[in-house]
């Protein structure tokens, strides 16, 4: 275990000392904030169009609406940030072993103090803070930006409270919980691809091709898709629980997962992640460094 922690510590040091880490953090936060700002601009444009229609038809100007509910734009921004972060995690994981193998750093670590298994497990452990960062950074950026332009509150329609603030916060908690396991599995999947690839570029290409290929064609699989971790990730063809939270925040009563699907979302990706890491260990043990 000490060897795993040593590899983890060294890799964390390398990752956080480079400029890339700062740029990626700022980029992720920027994407999430921009998405919220876009929602604000869109809402302002809708209100301006309504005003223009009223005035041009000789009616009284509609009452100036106050800022909309922040929960919807917040989830949109968060979702966009996590979607980008998922792809970045996949790229980073795919490079983690393959690029170091290509560049000779794995040989260095191997001859100094680390077994091949420790090299994989240390990098697997690195996925935990990175996944947390991938979720928390967009959440903070989107949440903060939404607070600047909108008001957090219950979902109200025609004077009736459809969803209370507490219920929305609880749904956000479920959304956060549902996002963690598939992202961890995505990291592990990237490591597996990395362990079997000949170089960093090839590993990234292969991982992206497989991941995006599944994303594009998962509809064809029908309900069977829910047995693959990637089906629960925020993505371009999005079917994640966070997307459902966004719908709930806009008052859609049929949004959300069934309990069985939610449990599958929570528990299925973890053994898949474990299997991917085991296979990555096995693959690296068999490879010449």
């Amino acid at each position: 275990m000490r060897g795993v922690l040593r590899v983890f510590g060294a890799e964390w040091y390398r990752l956080t000392r480079g400029r890339t880490a700062l740029l990626t953090t700022l980029g992720l936060a920027g994407v999430a904030a921009l998405r919220v700002f876009a929602a604000f601009v869109s809402e302002q444009a809708t209100q301006a169009a309504a005003l223009q229609r009223a005035l041009s038809s000789g009616r009284d100007a509609p009452l100036q609406a106050g800022p909309g509910n922040a929960f919807g734009p917040f989830v949109d921004g968060w979702l966009t940030g996590v979607t980008v972060a998922t792809l970045l995690l996949l790229i980073l994981a795919a490079r983690a072993l393959a690029a170091d193998l290509e560049g000779g750093l794995l040989r260095l670590a191997r001859t100094r103090a680390s077994s091949r298994t420790q090299l994989v497990l240390g990098r697997a452990l690195l996925g935990v803070p990175l996944v947390l960062g991938a979720i928390v950074i967009p959440a903070l950026a989107a949440g903060g930006t939404a607070a600047c332009f909108f008001d957090y509150g219950p979902v109200i329609e025609d004077g009736y409270e459809l969803v209370s603030s507490d219920e929305l916060v609880a749904e956000l908690g479920r959304g956060l919980l549902a996002t963690l396991p598939p992202l961890l599995a995505t990291w592990a999947f990237g490591l597996l691809i990395s362990a079997v690839s000949r170089g960093g570029t090839l590993a990234v290409s292969l991982a992206l091709a497989l991941y995006l290929g599944f994303d594009l064609f998962k509809e064809v699989l029908g309900s069977a898709r829910s047995y693959v971790f990637a089906a629960f990730n925020p993505s371009f063809v999005d079917q994640s629980y966070l997307r459902e939270v966004g719908q709930i925040a806009r008052g859609y009563s049929d949004a959300g997962f069934t309990e069985a699907l939610f449990l599958r979302n929570l528990w299925l990706p973890l053994p898949q992640a474990g299997l991917a890491i085991l296979l990555a260990c096995w693959a690296l043990r068999r490879r010449p460094l």
Partner: protein
């Protein structure tokens, strides 16, 4: 005490037998040169010895640990690979800190001392990607010196270095050996290695051609003197008449090689001057590592042709 022991090592890649029945031993305190032409199997031998490549047969022990579990030597061995294997986005000091973290303890030689040893002090904050090739190589060596390595393995340590860099590096190898570190250098730079190594192994076509102390490997030949003078042909008769002179070979109109010890140089010089020859140069000749290496390659390859 052997710090690295290789016995009956075999490694093939498909039909190509890269290493055949190779055995060698690096003793503590050696400055050991693993020499051979390109493609002779040096790097494959090292990769097997360092647990990076599984051998087909044979055993390898490094510091008493089987090569497959080399990480258990926990920092007692350090390797500088061909190519610099640095993290380009990190600074000089950050590269060393990264290596220290991989090593897992902060004892032994620290970054400041390691940088001073390779003449990189003062470049702490420079990005590794902006160093010259020679500086990158020195940084890789500084990284290897962190902690308390007992065995330092360097694969092609002189490639890409300018003349001054080579001199600095050879001096560093001598100093490290004096500090008690055993060095194993894998290279094809014979002339430079001859100046520093104490023991050599020459690998040709995957087989060990010779292993031993440098003086033993170079010895065994008759000591010779090289003489430059006018009328080499006529001088030959004068020299053959002298006692303690072996074979006399005319190499050119103005050059001779005489089988004689350096101690008889004065007598030979006097005899030639008395006979009216104008001598422009007289020096003892030692067989070089390059010459030994060339004759071994020729011998081995000729023998291989006969077997085929």
């Amino acid at each position: 005490m052997a710090v690295m022991r290789i016995a009956s090592l075999e490694k093939s890649f498909g039909d190509v037998r890269a290493v055949r029945d190779l055995s060698l031993s690096v003793e503590a305190g050696d400055l050991y040169g693993l020499l051979g032409p390109n493609g002779s199997g040096k790097t494959t031998t090292l990769a097997c010895a360092l647990g990076l490549l599984p051998p087909d047969a044979g055993t390898v022990e490094v510091l008493g640990v089987p090569a497959a579990r080399i990480h258990e030597t926990a920092g007692r061995i350090a390797v500088v690979f061909d190519g610099t294997t640095l993290v380009p986005g990190l600074s000089v000091r950050q590269n060393l800190t990264y290596a220290q973290r991989l090593l897992g303890h902060a004892g032994g030689r620290q970054p400041d001392e390691a940088l001073r040893l390779v003449d990189l002090a003062g470049r702490d904050h420079q990005r590794a990607s902006r160093l010259s090739l020679g500086q990158k190589r020195r940084l890789a060596i500084a990284r290897a010196l962190l902690g308390r390595p007992e065995l330092l393995v360097l694969d092609e340590p002189l490639s890409g270095l300018d003349a001054l860099g080579v001199v600095t590096m050879l001096d560093l190898f001598r100093r490290l050996r004096e500090d008690g570190i055993t060095l194993l250098l894998s290279t094809h730079r014979l002339h430079e290695m001859e100046q520093v190594v104490s023991k050599v192994a020459i690998i040709i076509d995957g087989r060990l051609a010779v292993e031993g102390d440098l003086t033993t490997v170079l010895g065994g030949d008759e000591p010779t003197l090289s003489i430059r003078l006018d009328r080499a042909d006529e001088a030959r008769a004068v020299l053959e008449a002298l006692p303690d002179v072996g074979t006399v070979t005319v190499l050119a109109d103005d050059q001779l090689r005489v089988g004689a010890t350096p101690a008889s140089a004065a007598a030979i010089n006097s005899a030639l001057v008395r006979s009216g020859f104008a001598i422009s140069e007289l020096r003892p000749e030692r067989r070089s590592l390059q010459a030994t290496f060339e004759s071994l390659v020729t011998e081995r390859r000729a023998a291989a042709q006969v077997v085929r």
